[in-house]
C-alpha cells in the first residue's frame, strides 16, 4: 500500500509539471506576439519593446520557463498585467471562494446522488426506479448554464426568492452570506446529480446481481444485511471513483456558474483574465485548478485503494 501511495504521488507531481509546461507553452509560445496580444494591435513599438523586456520575452524559451516555474514554486505567481497587483493573493482568495462553492455542492451531490442511486437500484424495475431513471436521463442532457438560467428565471425573476447574483462575506451575517450561495449551489448540484446517481444505480444493480450476493441470500441472511453489509461496500467502490472525477467536473462547472452568478471565484477569474488578456493570472489560475483536480483524484485513488482489500493487502494490479 505504501508503495502504491508513493507511486501515485510521484505520478501526480510529474503530471503537474507537464501541465505547467503545457500552460506555459500555450500562453507564451502560441500567440505570435504576446506583447501585442496584451497591449492590443495598435500598440506603439516602444510600448511593445518595453513590455517584452519587462516580461523577459526575448530570452530563450527554456530559460523563460525555468524562471517562471522557479518563481512559481517560491510562491511568486507573477503580477497581474491588468491590475498591476501580485497574482498570488488574488488567486488564493478566489480559490477559497470556489472551494466553498464546490465543497458544499460536492457534499450535496454525493449524499443525494448516491442515495438516489442506491434506492433506485433496490427498487429496480419499479415505479421509483423508472422515475429516477427518467429524471437522471433528462438531467444529464441539461447543460450547466441552462440550469442556471432556469433557476434564475424561476427563483429570481418569477418567484423572487433568491438574488440572481452576488456574494457577501460571512462577516455580513449568516443569512446574507448564505442567500446568494443557494442559487449557484443548486445549479451545480442539479447539473451533477444525474451523473452520479446514474452510475451509482448501475453499479448497485450489477452488484446486486453478482454471485456473492446470491450466495449471501442462499445463506438465508436477512435482506437488510445482504444490501447494507454485502452489497453496498462493493457498489460504493466505483461510486467513489466517479465522485472524484466529478469533483474535477465540478471545478469545470464553476467556470460557467460563477460567471453567471457573478461569484468571485477561480472560474470567473479565469474567464476574466482571458477577456482582459491577463496572462500571468490565467496561467496561475489554471495551474491551481489543475493542482486541485489532481489532488482530488489522488484522494479518490487513495480512498479506493484503502477500501479495496485487493490493493490494500495485495499487489496492485
Amino acid at each position: 500500500m505504501a508503495a502504491y501511495v508513493v507511486r501515485r504521488v510521484i505520478l501526480i507531481a510529474l503530471v503537474l509539471v507537464a501541465v505547467s509546461i503545457l500552460v506555459f507553452a500555450i500562453t507564451t509560445l502560441l500567440p505570435a506576439n504576446v506583447a501585442y496580444l496584451i497591449l492590443g494591435p495598435f500598440a506603439q513599438p516602444e510600448q511593445v519593446h518595453a513590455l517584452e523586456h519587462k516580461l523577459g520575452l526575448n530570452d530563450p524559451v527554456w530559460l523563460q520557463y525555468l524562471r517562471w516555474a522557479g518563481a512559481f514554486l517560491k510562491g511568486d505567481l507573477g503580477e497581474s498585467t491588468l491590475m498591476n497587483r501580485p497574482v498570488a493573493p488574488l488567486v488564493f482568495e478566489a480559490l477559497g471562494h470556489s472551494l466553498l462553492l464546490a465543497g458544499v455542492s460536492f457534499v450535496l451531490v454525493a449524499v443525494i446522488g448516491i442515495g438516489l442511486g442506491v434506492v433506485a437500484a433496490l427498487r429496480h424495475g419499479r415505479a421509483l426506479d423508472h422515475t429516477v431513471s427518467i429524471a437522471t436521463y433528462l438531467g444529464i442532457a441539461v447543460p450547466e448554464f441552462f440550469w442556471a438560467i432556469i433557476i434564475i428565471v424561476v427563483f429570481a425573476a418569477w418567484l423572487g426568492w433568491l438574488p440572481a447574483s452576488g456574494y457577501e462575506p460571512l462577516s455580513a451575517g449568516f443569512s446574507a452570506w448564505a442567500k446568494p450561495l443557494i442559487a449557484p449551489v443548486m445549479t451545480l448540484v442539479f447539473g451533477h446529480l444525474a451523473h452520479v446517481s446514474r452510475l451509482t444505480r448501475s453499479s448497485m444493480i450489477e452488484v446486486m446481481q453478482s454471485p456473492y450476493v446470491m450466495a449471501a441470500r442462499a445463506k438465508g441472511l436477512p435482506e437488510r444485511v445482504v444490501v447494507l453489509h454485502h452489497a453496498l461496500r462493493n457498489a460504493l467502490l466505483p461510486a467513489i471513483t466517479v465522485l472524484a472525477l466529478d469533483f474535477g467536473r465540478l471545478m469545470g462547472g464553476i467556470v460557467v456558474v460563477e460567471t453567471i452568478f457573478a461569484y468571485p471565484g477561480l472560474g470567473r477569474l479565469v474567464v476574466f483574465s482571458i477577456q482582459n488578456r491577463d496572462l500571468p493570472t490565467l496561467q496561475a489560475a489554471i495551474l491551481v485548478v489543475a493542482a486541485i483536480y489532481a489532488l482530488a483524484n489522488l484522494v479518490a485513488d487513495l480512498l479506493y485503494a484503502f477500501l479495496n482489500p485487493k490493493i490494500r493487502f495485495g499487489d496492485a494490479a
Binding site: 500552460v23 500555450i26 448554464f145 490565467l282 489554471i286 489543475a290
Partner: protein
C-alpha cells in the same frame, strides 16, 4: 466478444432517439427554407414580443424571430458536435489502437500524455486553447475536438486491450500477420461498435461544451445565432423576456436527449452482456 446478428426489432428507445435526432437534423439542413422569418434582420418595432401566432417563440432584443434564429443555430450546433467528434476520433482512435496493441513504452508515453491533458477540467482546457487567439467558431470546434482526444484514446485503448487478449489475435500472429493487418483487419472491425456508441455520446458532450464556450464569449460571435451565444445575449433580459434564453436551451436539451437515446439504444443492441441469464 460475440456479436449477434442485428435482426432484433428496433426498441422504443432507438425509435424515439432516431425520430428526435432525425427531425432536428432535417430542420437544420432545411433551415434557410423552413424558417418563417429572416434570422438576422433587426427591427426595433418588434422587440421583446412574447411568443404569439406570428413569432412562435417570440422575438429578441433586436426584434429578430427567435424560432428562425434557433433553426439556423441548429446547423452550428450539429456542425460543432460532429466536427469536434470527428477530430477526436481521427486522432484518438489511432492513438488508442497503438497504445493498446503495442503496449510497452509506446503505451506509457501516450497514456501519460493523455493524463496530462485530462489533468485540467475540459472546459478550462478549452478556455486555455482559445485564450490566445481571436475567437471563431471553427477554432472552438477544433479546441473541443482536441480536449476530448484523451477520452477517446482511453476507450479505444481499453477495447483494443481486451480484443488483443482474444485467441484469434494469437492465431493471426501464428500466421505471421503484420501489425497493420492485425490492427485494421482483425481488431478494428471488432472494435468499432463500442466506439461508434461512444462517439455518438461524445457528439452530445461536444455540443454542450461548444455552446458553453460560446456562452462565455469564446466561440461564435454576434450576430451569429449559435445557441450558446443566444443564451448569453439573453442573460440581461431574463426577467422580462425569458423565452429568448429558454428556447435555445430547451432545443439543446432536446437534441442531447435524442442523441443519448440513440447512443444508449445502439449500445444495448450491440452489447451481448445485457441478455437475460437463464440458469440451466
Amino acid at each position: 466478444m460475440q456479436l449477434e446478428a442485428s435482426r432484433k426489432p428496433l426498441t422504443l428507445q432507438l425509435k424515439v432517439g432516431l425520430a428526435i435526432v432525425g427531425a432536428i437534423v432535417l430542420l437544420g439542413l432545411l433551415a434557410p427554407w423552413v424558417a418563417p422569418h429572416p434570422w438576422d434582420t433587426i427591427s426595433m418595432r418588434t422587440r421583446f414580443l412574447a411568443p404569439n401566432a406570428t413569432y412562435w417563440f417570440g422575438t429578441d432584443e433586436y426584434g429578430r424571430d427567435v424560432l428562425s434564429r434557433l433553426l439556423m443555430g441548429t446547423r452550428l450546433s450539429l456542425a460543432m458536435g460532429v466536427g469536434a467528434t470527428a477530430i477526436s476520433l481521427a486522432i484518438g482512435v489511432p492513438i488508442g489502437l497503438a497504445s493498446g496493441y503495442f503496449r510497452g513504452w509506446v503505451d506509457e508515453a501516450l497514456m501519460r500524455s493523455a493524463d496530462v491533458l485530462m489533468a485540467v477540467p475540459p472546459i478550462m482546457l478549452g478556455l486555455l486553447f482559445l485564450a490566445v487567439t481571436p475567437p471563431a467558431l471553427w477554432k472552438t470546434a477544433l479546441a473541443v475536438g482536441l480536449v476530448y482526444i484523451p477520452q477517446i484514446a482511453r476507450l479505444t485503448r481499453s477495447v483494443t486491450l481486451s480484443l488483443a487478449g482474444e485467441d484469434f489475435i494469437q492465431a493471426a500472429k501464428a500466421r505471421a500477420e503484420t501489425a497493420t493487418y492485425i490492427l485494421f483487419r482483425e481488431i478494428l472491425p471488432n472494435a468499432w461498435p463500442p466506439l461508434i456508441v461512444e462517439a455518438s455520446l461524445r457528439v452530445s458532450y461536444a455540443i454542450l461544451l461548444g455552446s458553453a464556450l460560446s456562452f462565455l464569449g469564446l466561440g461564435a460571435q454576434p450576430p451569429s445565432s449559435d445557441w450558446g451565444l443566444m443564451i448569453a445575449e439573453a442573460r440581461s433580459f431574463l426577467d422580462r423576456a425569458p423565452w429568448i434564453a429558454l428556447a435555445p436551451g430547451a432545443a439543446m436539451c432536446l437534441l442531447v436527449i435524442g442523441i443519448n437515446l440513440l447512443g444508449d439504444g445502439a449500445r444495448e443492441r450491440l452489447d451481448p452482456r445485457l441478455k437475460s441469464r437463464v440458469a440451466t
